[in-house]
């Protein structure tokens, strides 16, 4: 009887420890897990979700008072926020990192500030900071070069071209940097009325952006290539259509509308009216996502257009 009671007690204790005694994760583990989920969300192309994950990770890292981890998470969150189109929030995070950190983290934060700057001067200042903090990191320096080229492209195309050449000399193979630099080069070629060169650069940019998993960059590059291949309406229309779909999937509805409008125009030129009509419909839907079109007379109660 006594043995049975002891056995019963042991079993109850074992059951309780196995079923209910789950030890919570430590703060650092939670922070790392949330950061990993944020990175996964970014790879899936969901920057808003990623920013939320980084927020949760930051809360834990701040509670741990791990400054290096906090700075790292702040930069990653800032990048996610830039992709999500919330430069106002990204700028605050980047500023916090720049006040406390040096080295590559400071350089990356400065690049965030530069890309969020509303005018050229603060952007140049931020790029100078990034250049100084980047040290010998070729990809960070190439990003700074290409960013500076973008600032100079409209006013001083010659200097912009120099910057792009300098970036190419850094031998950075990182797809996102290649995508950025090639896109900017394509834009410069378009400004210089060299569509063939522009088309090549945009194609390279689209390829690199696809490897980097950046749908918005893919859309922008395809749209640029479609514009560059204006002389070939069929090819241009096809590229514009792809650009529209990519922009739609990235949530860049203005770009999607623009690309579908180009697609409709080029298909119209090719005499493919049916496909032109489809592009036009898609473009209208993209426009409705930006700002719903006003209802026609007597159509105030009409059902909204089905989401494509």
């Amino acid at each position: 009887m006594r043995a049975s009671a002891v056995g019963f007690g042991l079993i109850v204790a074992l059951g309780a420890s196995a079923c209910g005694g789950s030890a919570p994760l430590g703060r650092r583990e939670v922070a790392l897990r949330e950061a990993g989920l944020g990175e996964a969300a970014m790879k899936r192309g969901h920057p808003v979700q990623a920013a939320r994950r980084y927020d949760a990770a930051l809360a834990e890292a701040r509670a741990l008072d791990d400054r290096a981890l906090v700075a790292r998470l702040l930069v990653d969150q800032a990048v996610a926020l830039v992709r999500a189109g919330r430069c106002d929030l990204a700028d605050v995070r980047a500023g916090e990192v720049m006040r406390s950190q040096d080295g590559p983290l400071r350089a990356r934060a400065a690049l965030v500030r530069a890309s969020c700057a509303r005018s050229a001067d603060p952007a140049r200042e931020a790029l100078a900071v990034a250049r100084a903090a980047a040290g010998k990191d070729g990809c960070l320096l190439a990003t700074a070069d290409c960013s500076e080229g973008a600032l100079l492209a409209a006013s001083e195309p010659g200097r912009a071209a120099e910057r792009y050449r300098a970036a190419a000399g850094r031998a950075c193979e990182q797809p996102d940097v290649v995508a950025l630099c090639s896109y900017n080069e394509g834009r410069l070629a378009m400004r210089s009325a060299a569509p063939a060169r522009a088309a090549t650069a945009f194609a390279r940019s689209a390829d690199a952006a696809a490897r980097a998993g950046d749908a918005a960059a893919v859309a922008a590059a395809l749209h640029g290539e479609a514009l560059a291949r204006d002389a070939d309406p069929a090819a241009s229309a096809d590229l514009a259509r792809r650009a529209g779909h990519a922009a739609w999937s990235a949530g860049r509805y203005p770009l999607a509308a623009e690309a579908f409008a180009l697609c409709a125009r080029q298909f119209g030129r090719s005499g493919r009216d049916e496909e032109a009509g489809t592009c036009r419909d898609n473009g209208s839907r993209a426009l409705d996502r930006i700002a719903p079109s006003p209802p026609a007379d007597g159509a105030a109660t009409a059902a909204p257009a089905a989401a494509p």
């Binding site: 002891v6 990048v79 922008a220 119209g268």
Partner: protein, 390 residues
């Protein structure tokens, strides 16, 4: 009259108590007799345990069939062959239920500490019933606590890495799903697919009509060539008659100059005839093959139509399938999250280091925001049949 109640009805009260006691005793006897009959009137059989490690098998251990008490162990013995035999009395109600291929399992309580052992008989499927004194094969169930410990050990050593792999698969599936979502969210994909199918159908019909027309043309060409052949044969006959100087025309053409001309004409006609014959031979082959081609083309078009119809049928189900997959992945993630938090397995899944930093952002030489009004005008629907001015 002055006596109290209990004295006045003393005899009746005693009588009621006696009757009540008698009824209770009678019921008890009946119940005992009933139980005794159930077991006592049962039939005997043996359960042979051939494997070692038969413990806690003693007189009085219950025998169950489908969790219902059906008998009792009356004793056990070890035979010369070393096998343990449990002597069992089973209720008569089980007489026709237990077949010769039934098996018995001795269940022992957790670690031999709590609960009572029992034997569970699993009824077999053989048509022959177990005879009185027959044997059933017995086995011993593993100790539940030991089994649980083994399972936990296996879980800890094997399930952890498996769950890691599962987690990676889940994340990969998630990424795939995200891509599928991207595809599914593409604007007017369904409309475009519908239009594409409609175009394919129309193209198929056009191709079929074109093939039929080609066949008709080939048949007509064959007829024309037959007629040409006949006409040329007639011309040949006429020329031969002229060569022989027959008839009025032959005589009229007896002139040497005319003769030379006629000979040249005949040579040219012969060359033309050869060409026509070669053409006819080739056309004849083509005509012979054409029906086959048409039939194959028709079959291919029919297959295309079937495939198109199937795709059209499947297409609406794809979003819901994606939704179900997403739900499944969500549940999987929840399970993995719970496992991750568990002390026993969490260590296998906890993040070991910080993930790779995100790539840096830079300034893009983007064009400004588009003019929405201009876009709206460019994208305005046009009247059917309108031609693009550009």
């Amino acid at each position: 009259m002055s006596q109290p109640f209990k004295l006045r009805y003393q005899n009746e009260i005693v009588g009621v108590f006696l009757v009540g006691a008698f009824v209770v005793i009678l019921l008890a006897v009946l119940l005992v007799a009933r139980d005794g009959r159930e077991i006592g009137d049962g039939f005997e059989c043996e359960i042979v345990f051939r494997e070692p490690g038969v413990g806690l098998l003693r007189e009085g251990v219950a025998v169950r069939v489908q969790s219902q008490r059906a008998g009792i162990v009356t004793g056990s013995s070890v035979g010369e062959d070393g096998h343990v035999r449990a002597h069992v009395v089973l209720s008569n109600s089980m007489r026709y239920a237990i077949s010769t291929d039934s098996s018995a399992t001795l269940y022992t309580p957790m670690a031999g500490l709590a609960g009572e052992p029992y034997i569970e008989i699993a009824i077999g499927k053989a048509p022959t019933r177990l005879a009185i004194g027959g044997q059933i094969e017995g086995a011993v169930a593993g100790d539940v606590l030991q089994l649980t410990t083994d399972v936990l050990r296996v879980l800890r050593s094997d399930l952890g890495p498996s769950l890691m792999a599962l987690r990676k698969i889940s994340e990969r599936g998630d990424r795939m799903l995200a891509k599928a979502e991207m595809i599914l969210e593409l604007p007017a994909t369904a409309t475009a697919a519908e239009a594409m199918f409609a175009r394919a159908d129309r193209a198929a019909e056009r191709a079929e009509r074109a093939l039929e027309r080609t066949l008709g043309l080939l048949e007509r060409l064959e007829g024309t060539l037959d007629k040409t052949d006949a006409a040329l044969a007639g011309a040949g006959r006429l020329v031969s008659r002229i060569e022989k100087g027959e008839g009025l025309v032959g005589r009229a053409l007896a002139d040497p100059v005319m003769e030379r001309r006629v000979v040249e004409l005949v040579g040219r006609l012969a060359g033309t005839l050869d060409t026509v014959e070669r053409l006819m031979a080739q056309t004849g082959k083509a005509v012979a093959v054409a029906p086959e081609l048409v039939a194959e083309g028709r079959a291919a078009l029919r297959d295309m139509a079937i495939v198109a119809a199937e795709l059209r049928r499947i297409a609406p189900a794809v979003p819901s399938m994606a939704g179900q997959v997403e739900e499944l992945l969500g549940e999987g993630r929840a399970v993995l999250g719970a496992v991750e938090r568990h002390w026993l397995l969490g260590a296998q899944l906890r993040p070991k280091g910080a993930p790779a930093p995100l790539p840096a952002v830079g300034i893009r030489d983007d064009a400004g925001a588009p003019d929405l009004e201009a876009l709206r005008r460019a994208l305005a629907p046009r009247a059917r049949g309108a031609v693009d001015a550009r």
